[in-house]
């Protein structure tokens, strides 16, 4: 993920191609929807991973499906790459523009087409904000379950592309578990519908395949999401511990008891201190670890589970056990966790958010290793952790103004992700690979597996024009990266020709 390795070596979009695109787009789109002046283009130069920047040569903002089809057809004919973008909140550079391609902004697709309270579904356009769906469904006592931390601004189209998660995944699943149908346009301009509002579909699970495909297979133009009834009862228990290990073991014991909490979030000391200073939410700042365990369901279910969880945390010598007295206090306790990123951001000029998943039993080993590296690199790390499903978000604190610190941060981040793979986990739990983790893909997957990923893309987009260069590395890139990172004396991808 080193920025030194992020180099877009493709030649820029040729002037005559750019002119041809502009004149063809203006034939069916108004002037303000085809952005071509620098001042209009700069806002699009990065997504949520702002350390990577590339000014796009052209941004188009279609507002109808037909326009999207036409744009893709034109780009297909001229062999111009296309990067689709929602709100640009992605944290892995998936919507990073390309020098030689256009940026397809889907912001104008911002309508909730319909909500059906009886089937508990909503038909939405891809540019609709995640939280706006739950807000609109609230009148019917319904909500849309996946809640990535950027839910106020991130769009549902981006959520589909990244298969976004959130703090309630353990019980309610990721985006792929909450979407019934996606209508999308393939690179050749063909409109396809995958999934269905029926119980299932005939043939391959293309709906599953589209999720998390990072805008590389098709451009989503309409989504049918599943809505859930708001739980009748919700309770939140906070428990603090004198060691991260005990907190981790307690999480395992809760699950072993047959309890699936709606949310189970853990923080280490640096994160607790930062969150408390920022949100004044009542966290015990002397604790080494803290978790928030949210239980929801019927009154009887929640009472029974709450008793069991409380008994368990007390048995495991929790230093603080507190059950939110009311809704206001529950929201207050969540506020600390949900503002952990900006809170940590106040401790340091910059921070870098890592997103790996591990089998939870290796938590202690991974945290210890991170502490060792933190000292070695002289970089502080604060940890927030979706403890229920093993998704780690170490936040590395750094100062980009100090020469070489960003590079060291990226190197440390890469090491953490590779450790996740080593213990049987993955380099990305919910933020996607994008441009950021493209090298780590070479660590997690073999050359043959990567080749098969390219083959899947080839089935949808044979000219590799949709968001090319993201998510799936070329084998040459892996060979290059492998040469830099020889692991246990083994050269990864030994079968690749080296130059």
């Amino acid at each position: 993920m080193s920025q030194a390795l992020f180099k877009d070596e493709t030649p820029p979009l040729a002037d005559d191609t750019r002119r041809a695109l502009i004149s063809q787009f203006l034939a069916f789109m108004d002037d303000e929807s085809v952005l071509r002046d620098d001042e209009d283009l700069y806002p699009y130069e990065s997504d949520g991973l702002a350390v990577y920047r590339q000014k796009p040569p052209l941004v188009v903002l279609p507002e109808t499906v037909e326009q999207v089809q036409k744009i893709l057809k034109i780009c297909s004919e001229l062999k111009v790459p296309v990067v689709a973008r929602g709100a640009g909140t992605g944290l892995s550079g998936g919507a990073l523009p390309l020098k030689n391609g256009i940026l397809l902004g889907m912001a104008k697709f911002n309508k909730i087409v319909s909500i059906n309270e009886h089937t508990r579904t909503a038909v939405v356009q891809p540019g609709v904000r995640n939280l706006a769906i739950s807000e609109a469904a609230s009148d019917y006592n319904l909500y849309y379950a996946p809640d990535p931390s950027s839910q106020i601004v991130c769009t549902i189209g981006g959520n589909v592309a990244e298969n976004s998660g959130g703090v309630h995944c353990l019980k309610y699943g990721m985006t792929v578990h909450n979407v019934l149908q996606v209508t999308a346009v393939t690179m050749d301009g063909e409109l396809i519908t995958v999934g269905s509002t029926a119980a299932d579909t005939a043939g391959f699970d293309l709906l599953g395949l589209i999720h998390g495909s990072e805008g590389m297979l098709a451009v989503t133009v309409e989504i049918v999401v599943k809505l859930l009834p708001k739980p009748n009862t919700t309770k939140l228990l906070m428990a603090a511990f004198a060691s991260v290990d005990t907190a981790g073991d307690t999480v395992a014991e809760i699950i072993a008891k047959g309890i699936i909490p709606a949310g189970l979030e853990m923080m280490d000391k640096p994160a607790i201190v930062a969150a408390e200073a920022f949100a004044k939410c009542g966290y015990p700042t002397d604790a080494e670890a803290l978790f928030l365990c949210e239980l929801d369901g019927t009154e009887e279910e929640v009472q029974s589970q709450l008793q069991q969880v409380e008994a368990l945390v007390r048995k495991n010598n929790a230093t603080v056990v507190h059950i939110a007295r009311d809704e206001q206090e529950r929201m207050q306790l969540w506020k600390g966790r949900k503002s952990a990123f900006p809170a940590v951001g106040r401790l340091s000029p910059d921070y870098y958010c890592i997103d790996g998943t591990i089998p939870r039993r290796h938590l202690s080993r991974v945290l210890q290793q991170m502490n060792t590296w933190s000292e070695e690199y002289s970089l502080r790390i604060a940890n927030v952790f979706h403890a229920g499903d093993g998704n780690l978000h170490p936040l590395i604190l750094f100062d980009a103004n100090i020469e070489g610190e960003l590079e060291r941060t990226e190197e440390l981040g890469a090491k953490i992700l590779e450790l996740c793979v080593e213990v049987g986990g993955t380099i990305t739990g919910e933020h996607g690979v994008g441009m950021e983790k493209i090298n780590q893909m070479c660590v997690q997957f073999s050359s043959n597996e990567i080749t098969q990923f390219h083959a899947i893309k080839n089935a949808f987009d044979p000219e590799a024009l949709l968001n090319p260069g993201k998510a799936i590395p070329t084998l040459n890139r892996c060979a290059e990266y492998g040469a830099l990172h020889v692991h246990h004396g083994e050269v990864p991808h030994p079968d690749i020709e080296r130059f």
């Binding site: 269905s196 119980a199 019927t298 089998p359 986990g425 098969q452 899947i456």
Partner: protein, 361 residues
């Protein structure tokens, strides 16, 4: 039978098939061999000796097993730890394997409430038509590295490769269950079944058969009793606890029919009204999965479901009829084209289960 890893032998068999361009029929326990067409000249590739649980971590809610591991063995292993496969896959026969379960992606009565097979797959190892043994996904709940090949394999009926091992999310087993029953007309039952899931109660199944709406509640006695009290309009407690298993395994008397008829499976949107096709109907999945025993022509059935955005599978029927009308609902042209391209990318020689899913590949 003992645990055994025969990946090397299986790989060799696939290599030979690729070299000779001879099709293979992937076979586990044979429990679902009735579903889908098969090429008569295909050689079987037997996964049943490739068995054994590779890893199981109850506190991580994940089990990984070789494809030939019997479904019954998986269920027993989980039960020992108070866990279960929440999607309630049917076995149909005791030899059903976990590989076949994932490849066929059939789910039991809990599907609308707890999710189906595709919602629980986490990772797999697959032997492709390039004779490569590849690993996708993993053993963790949240994983978005690379395309979701594991989900693509789920329900592909072995047409994209041989599933070698699979990792599946598991959940705690329900502490108990109660079944409510009430006689009512089908129109009312469809509405009630649909609204039931919106109440935030522990409903885990709803089906309509023999003029009766049956609803299952799961949880401890306190939980199910409290929910049952709120649902008196839906029915009284019945003693029919074996209903759901019989429904899942198709051992209810309903599923007995004569040779001139076929069993169709209709997948339809929520709140779809009863369809005007002569035959015997059974409504599962809150009315979204409908079983129909009929001698009505395939064209009538398929046209009726297509008009409402559903699809129909000739689930059990005579082989000549299967060949004539196809087993799975024909795909729209652009989707069929994508299926063929994906097939080409995974199995360029077309050796795996040709025509099992669609006559075109």
């Amino acid at each position: 039978m003992t645990d055994k890893d025969i990946s090397a032998e299986l790989k060799l068999q696939v290599e030979t098939a690729i070299a000779d361009k001879t099709p293979l029929t992937i076979q586990g326990g044979g429990s679902k061999s009735f579903l889908g067409l098969r090429k008569t000249n295909a050689t079987p590739i037997d996964l049943s000796p490739h068995r054994g649980v590779i890893s199981y971590e109850p506190t991580e809610l994940v089990i990984t097993a070789r494809a030939g591991t019997p479904l019954e063995e998986i269920k027993a292993t989980l039960k020992n730890q108070g866990q279960a496969l929440a999607f309630e896959p049917p076995g149909f026969t005791p030899n059903a394997t976990i590989g076949g379960t994932i490849a066929c992606a059939m789910s039991g009565p809990a599907k609308p409430y707890l999710g189906g097979t595709r919602d629980y797959i986490l990772g797999c190892r697959v032997l492709t038509g390039h004779a490569q043994n590849l690993k996708f996904g993993g053993e963790v709940m949240k994983n978005v590295a690379g395309y979701d090949v594991s989900r693509l394999m789920t329900g592909a009926m072995g047409t994209l490769g041989v599933l070698m091992d699979v990792s599946v999310k598991v959940l705690p087993e329900a502490a108990g269950e109660v079944t409510l029953g009430k006689v009512m007309d089908i129109e009312t039952a469809i509405e009630k079944m649909q609204s039931l899931a919106g109440l935030g109660l522990p409903v885990t199944a709803a089906a309509y058969l023999n003029g009766t709406l049956f609803t299952r509640l799961s949880g401890t006695e306190t939980i199910t009793n409290a929910a049952a009290q709120k649902l008196t309009a839906i029915g009284e407690k019945t003693n029919d606890s074996s209903l759901w298993q019989q429904l899942r395994e198709q051992t209810l008397p309903f599923f007995t029919f004569n040779e001139s008829q076929s069993l169709w499976r209709l997948s339809v949107p929520a709140l779809t009204k009863p369809l005007d096709i002569e035959g015997q109907w059974l409504y599962d999945w809150a009315g979204m999965q409908r079983w129909l025993i009929t001698d009505a022509p395939a064209t009538t059935i398929r046209a009726a479901v297509e008009a409402i955005g559903g699809h129909a599978t000739l689930f059990r029927g005579t082989e000549p009829l299967q060949r004539e009308v196809g087993v799975f609902h024909p795909l729209p042209t652009p989707l069929l084209a994508l299926h063929k391209k994906l097939k080409q990318e995974f199995d360029p020689q077309g050796i795996f289960n040709p025509q099992r899913l669609f006559p075109e590949f």
